[in-house]
């Protein structure tokens, strides 16, 4: 087969601009071959090169004494957790594939991020995810035919994505321990699937994606290369169009979690032998990315022969082999002379392997097919010198209307009873048990706090670590690993970011840190996923720039360096761009089991205390801007969102942790979407003992409204820096005093007990039975999916 001629049309089809093509010619000193054009197009896609976002990403705080491997250095960042142990973690998007083929798209997203973690030498021990879909319930009645068809499609995507994540994670044997799901019209046709994985390792076990050692052999391990996932990275860097679904199905890969489990175990076993000089997974841009990046990092060259690459389909061209994104494949650079160890271990696991090349001193990535040269590119220039663009930014026009919104436009509530029920059964706020009961969230015997509280908590033990050198494996296996607990959460309220990208970015981080504080954890670091629209549009780039500014500032405030992440641009369907959606996965550490705290009320008679001011007096919208209440009850996504005062947040988290560590906090739950009323309801209904067996408990609440304060704002406003805690009644006074000493406002607002949530504000009094609220909240998504 002859390669097509390189024409301007072909260059454009590869999403390369004429200027970029000129740069390629300068680098090569000649015209590229067809295979080389393909290689440049994937390596210089946004997905691989961050060419539109790199200048912004540089503003993130990325360093701390605990960061062992920093952002952008390797496949995932690594943070020290003490006692010679470390964690590797990262989040990555699989949005476009999931839009086209939800089950496989989401499944391979999970598979890809798990590979990034064991590539670092870490044992993957838990997954979390952040998902966005179009609405699965009618937004307003009566529904139009089109809206109904869209809603049914949203449900299809939602159930397909959840089943795909469940399939991959459950079979691999990794607990999917936390997550978040939002439903909003803006994600119709462009769902978001952000998958996160965390692994554990000893400091000495950190593996590098470097092609070290001139003359070392290069091994390919894992299943054969097929035509699936051709140029997926380039596909992920374009707008989704009507034709995407049909035309680009071939760009979606097919996952095999069983294969990945074997590859993972075999790689960890091989790493323990010390025979590995470098290792990298073949993720986005497959063989292309793994070969040129490993050479670029090591400052070496790499030479491979494609005829030796195991191939699944007949007559594959060099272009196809280099760009395939077939799953579960790894590139391993082996210490010369130790090839037999690789063969022995991969044979034990019945896994395919092939020696496909060697490390050179030329600095070039040289690809041959049956001896014939098909690509010869300076590896460093290809991997590191992608063009970088400072895009034009312009504030979007819609923000003028957002800022003009005032509460005068909506009447205050007179009866919050139906409104609280409506909010609790809104799929975005409702229990996500329909989702997480499909995920095995307990495998590996570490899930100390399962999904359903503010943050998940994972207990580490010796089998959380990869095996050690076989000679000492038996001893290491029995060696005690000091008790440590990792807390995890992922957060990102896109409505806030849409209405004010800077404040919204700050809030995403602040909420994540607050969720960790509620479980008793100290933040260690952040991995973020920036899901935005087309960066070539100045309004979109402005959203990105402002959100990044807010995210970075908040990460600095909480001492939570960004250790890596992912940028997913071009999230637009024919209906327009998605709301700007940065998702923030934050990881924290809890040193002692007794500090682990959950959100639900514990015992009758416990005192309920609100930490933080009930309402932000400086906010003219009293916390209702961008709120779930405005969105669901009034059908409005507008208003300036609540302000995020980072100093106040920090003080709150410090005080909360101090109170938890003193042993007097029995439950802690942050106020976020739906405000104080939703938070209190969740405290009453969110403990699940077993199937069909919630533990319900009521509460009696009394709130004193300030002057000019609206009832809807007091109950449903989303002022930041607030947490509801409970203590034994006897401890209440002590805790109130202690909180004030620590500089945090604290008010006793009620008592736990009874079967109802009773609320008194001034002269008004309302109540709900816990059982009714639980039924609405717990079953809402299952009911929607049955409808």
């Amino acid at each position: 087969m002859t390669d097509p001629a390189i024409t301007p049309e072909l260059v454009q089809k590869h999403n390369l601009t004429p200027e970029e093509f000129e740069k390629i010619k300068t680098i090569l000193g000649r015209e590229p071959s067809y295979t080389e054009l393909g290689i440049f197009s994937v390596m210089w896609s946004e997905h691989c090169s961050y060419k539109n976002s790199r200048p912004l990403l540089r503003t993130f705080p990325t360093k701390s004494p605990k960061v062992l491997v920093g952002a952008g250095e390797e496949n995932a960042g690594i943070i020290d957790i003490g006692d010679g142990l470390a964690i590797a973690f990262k989040i990555e998007s699989h949005n476009h594939p999931s839009a086209v083929e939800p089950f496989q798209g989401a499944a391979t997203g999970v598979g890809g991020i798990i590979r990034d973690i064991f590539t670092m030498g870490a044992r993957p021990v838990c997954s979390i995810n952040s998902l966005r879909f179009g609405p699965i319930t009618p937004e307003s009645l009566p529904q139009t035919e089109d809206d109904r068809a869209a809603m049914i499609n949203n449900r299809r995507l939602f159930s397909g994505v959840v089943a795909g994540i469940a399939h991959y994670g459950n079979c691999f044997g990794i607990p999917t321990i936390a997550g978040e799901v939002y439903f909003d019209k803006c994600y119709e046709g462009n769902p978001l699937v952000n998958a996160f994985c965390l692994g554990v390792l000893r400091h000495e076990q950190i593996a590098r994606g470097r092609a070290c050692g001139i003359g070392n052999p290069v091994f390919y391990v894992g299943p054969a290369t097929g035509r699936d996932g051709l140029a997926g990275a380039a596909f992920a860097s374009q707008d989704l169009t009507e034709e995407s679904a049909e035309q680009q199905r071939g760009a979606v890969q097919v996952g095999d979690p069983f294969m990945e489990k074997l590859v993972c175990e075999a790689c960890l076993e091989l790493l323990a032998t010390g025979a590995v000089a470098g290792i990298q997974d073949m993720g986005a841009a497959g063989l292309t990315c793994s070969t040129c990046e490993t050479a670029a990092r090591a400052g070496t060259g790499i030479e491979i022969e494609l005829a030796k690459v195991p191939q699944r389909a007949p007559n594959m061209t060099p272009y196809e082999i280099m760009l395939s994104e077939s799953q579960e494949r790894m590139l391993i650079i082996v210490q010369k002379g130790r090839e037999e160890e690789v063969k022995r271990i991969f044979d034990k696991w019945d896994l395919p392997w092939a020696e496909i090349g060697r490390v050179t001193d030329t600095g070039r990535m040289v690809v041959r097919n049956h001896g014939q040269l098909v690509a010869d590119i300076p590896a460093k220039k290809l991997a590191d010198e992608a063009p970088v663009y400072q895009r034009e930014a312009r504030e979007p026009d819609y923000l003028a209307a957002v800022r003009a919104f005032s509460l005068a436009a909506i009447p205050d509530t007179t009866d919050p009873v139906p409104q609280l029920k409506t909010l609790l059964e809104w799929p975005t706020l409702a229990s996500k048990n329909w989702v997480y009961r499909q995920y095995d969230h307990m495998v590996r015997n570490g899930s100390a706090v399962c999904p359903g509280s503010d943050a998940a908590v994972l207990r580490l033990k010796e089998d959380s670590l990869p095996i050690w050198n076989p000679a000492t494996a038996a001893a290491a296996a029995g060696a005690p690993v000091p008790e440590k607990f990792i807390a995890l959460t992922v957060d990102g309220n896109a409505a806030y970011v849409y209405l004010d990208p800077y404040e919204g970015g700050k809030i995403a981080v602040a909420e994540a840190a607050r969720n960790l504080a509620c479980t008793g954890a100290v933040p260690l670091g952040v991995t973020d996923n920036l899901n935005f629209g087309n960066p070539l549009k100045p309004e979109i780039f402005w959203q990105l720039r402002e959100a990044v500014r807010g995210l970075g500032e908040a990460c600095r405030a909480f001492n939570a360096p960004v250790t890596g992440g992912n940028v997913s641009l071009y999230n637009q369907s024919p209906n327009g761009p998605i709301d700007p959606t940065p998702t923030v996965a934050m990881v924290g550490l809890i040193e002692k089991a007794e500090h682990i705290t959950t959100q639900w009320f514990k015992d009758e008679g416990d005192a309920i205390i609100l930490l933080g001011d009930p309402v932000d007096a400086t906010d003219p919208l009293q916390g209702l801007g961008g709120s779930a209440y405005l969105q669901r009850i009034h059908g409005l996504k507008t208003g300036t969102p609540p302000r995020c005062d980072l100093d106040r947040e920090k003080d709150l988290h410090l005080a909360l942790r101090a109170l938890i560590h003193s042993g007097s906090v029995k439950s802690a739950h942050d106020c976020s979407e739906g405000g104080l009323a939703v938070a209190l309801a969740e405290c009453c209904i969110s403990q699940q003992i077993a199937r069909e067996t919630p533990r319900l408990i009521g509460a009696k609440i009394e709130l004193a409204p300030g002057a000019g304060q609206r009832l809807d704002a007091l109950l449903f406003g989303e002022a930041q820096a607030r947490v509801v805690i409970t203590t034994a009644a006897l401890d209440a006074v002590k805790v109130l005093e202690r909180a004030k000493l620590l500089g945090v406002p604290a008010t006793r607002i009620g008592t736990v007990g009874g079967e109802q949530l009773r609320l008194r504000v001034g002269t008004g009094e309302w109540s709900w039975t816990a059982a009714e609220l639980h039924d609405l909240w717990w079953n809402a998504i299952a009911r929607a999916m049955k409808g």
């Binding site: 499909q438 495998v443 699940q688 067996t693």
Partner: protein, 237 residues
């Protein structure tokens, strides 16, 4: 005691079982690779959960042909104690060591949650330490846990008191709502006629430490240990 925990490609609850037997219950436990032909000096064998061989043909369908399963067959025939959990239960059914089969959950969805179990038959090597009337709170995590057998087999299981555990609600009633997968007769686990091989879908090893929310699962493992101790004492006498 010395315990063997089988390890198939795709097993993923193998380390959890070893952890509990070794670090929680204080016994010796080791992983046994599926290509092994001997169980060594094992006092009892555990077939752990997971997705052996990816479960691509049918859950447990390929694992039963493993060399190690020949050894397990022989061990069981001599009265050795064998417990299969989740995928291990499926493998033991496929291998003919236990009656019946496990098919897809009626909901067609994977289910991971705590359930209540009633130990229906107290006098078995797997239930003898469960206090009378005590409900066990233990998690399930499976997509194919619906126990299925023909009417004749079910009648035989009842007559021989081979049904060891049923799904029940918090009041101890076996109801459809309490059953996570649609199992016939709400069956969560059974034993063979000789009462030395048992399987169940719930995971006792995930309910053996209070930090993970409960220790009821230990009662099942401790029943086995108690039985082995009694056997050892009988031999010594």
């Amino acid at each position: 005691m010395n315990f063997a925990v089988l390890q198939f490609p795709g097993s993923n609850c193998d380390q959890d079982m070893v952890h509990v037997l070794r670090n929680v219950l204080g016994h010796s436990a080791r992983l046994l690779w599926h290509k092994e032909k001997s169980l060594g000096d094992a006092d009892a064998v555990f077939v752990p959960g997971g997705f052996s061989y990816g479960d691509y043909l049918r859950t447990g369908a390929i694992a039963r042909f493993s060399p190690v399963m020949q050894a397990v067959q022989a061990f069981a025939a001599q009265g050795g104690l064998v417990l299969g959990v989740c995928n291990g239960f499926q493998i033991l059914c496929e291998a003919g060591l236990l009656p019946g089969a496990l098919i897809r959950n009626r909901s067609l969805q994977f289910r991971c949650e705590h359930v209540f179990l009633q130990a229906v038959t107290p006098d078995s090597p797997f239930t003898n330490r469960v206090p009378d009337g005590k409900l066990l709170r233990i998690p399930v995590a499976h997509g194919e846990g619906c126990y299925f057998a023909d009417e004749e087999t079910l009648a035989r299981l009842r007559a021989n008191r081979q049904i060891l555990w049923r799904y029940v609600n918090a009041r101890g009633e076996a109801t459809d709502a309490a059953n996570p997968n649609g199992s016939l007769d709400h069956i969560a686990g059974v034993c063979n006629e000789a009462r030395n091989v048992a399987g169940l879908m719930p995971h006792p090893e995930r309910a053996s430490e209070s930090i993970l929310g409960g220790t009821d699962g230990r009662l099942i493992l401790e029943s086995m240990i108690h039985t082995l101790e009694q056997r050892a004492a009988a031999r010594a006498a």
